[in-house]
Chain length 130, copies 2
DNA sequence: TATAGTGTTATAGTTATATAGAACACAGAA
DNA sequence: TTCTGTGTTCTATATAACTATAACACTATA
């Protein structure tokens, strides 16, 4: 059928990690990959780009990529087959009405002049006391 | 009058840092202190507990405390006087209606079953694309 | 079988993070 | 002045995070 059989290989766009953010590189890699799955831009069956390609996309070492993907494997989000590749295994996508609601919330917050960092601090704080 | 003259020394409650969270201890300390100021539980003029007391409250070394407070000094949130103490200098408190709105948002999100980690991932993602 | 594309493991070295412990410096009150 | 409470600096050590590099193992295809 299309070009690869059952599941195409989509080409997710990943950004280089920020090495001065204080957040470990492997965590940033995890977060970016997981976000793609949560937003449904990667779905179960999809294959990730090869680790050596991820290496250059994220601008980190293979070992850092592996550490990140390993964690996502233990979470059940990904699986890997030696000699073949990494695949999305779990459907953790969020429904789009919820995404829309998030968007509206973010717009409001930006309107009152809060920055991202402060917003996240507050959400964490409120979350624990709700 | 009260007990210290102009500005009492309030006793903020800080929690021990989570040493397995992957977030550097000094960042966790920064976040907790800054949150108190943002929520207006510490206001300009207030004095922080002595660093050696913070050491035990957060369960980290003095040097880690100093690193965190140094950062907040460069942000202008705190200042320090040798031999005296650390003081809140900047009013970055958020108005309570905004806090309330955050609370409502968090309640909604919890209702649909998202966890904190996922929520923050999504907010970061949406934030950059709004 | 041979080859290319993939994941996996291992070693060594560097830097960032965090700790422990000690000493020093300043402010304020006795 | 002396003492206590405070912030500050320093050195040494340990661990985690990250990198570079190389080698190895499996899969699929020619």
């Amino acid at each position: 059928m299309d070009d690869k059989g059952n599941n195409e290989r989509r080409r997710p766009k990943f950004k280089k990690v920020d090495k001065h953010s204080g957040i470990p590189a492997y965590v940033q890699v995890m977060n970016q990959v997981k976000t793609e799955v949560i937003l449904g831009r990667l779905v179960p069956g999809d294959q990730l780009p090869p680790v050596r390609e991820l290496e250059t996309m994220f601008d980190v070492n293979v070992n850092t990529i592996l550490k990140a993907l390993d964690k996502l494997k233990s979470e059940g989000v990904l699986s890997s087959e030696q000699g073949v590749g990494y695949f999305v295994t779990s459907n953790i996508a969020i429904e789009s009405p919820i995404i829309d609601e998030l968007g509206e919330f973010v717009r409001k917050i930006k309107n009152v002049g809060l920055d991202l960092y402060t917003t996240i601090l507050l959400i964490e704080e409120v979350w624990k006391n709700e």
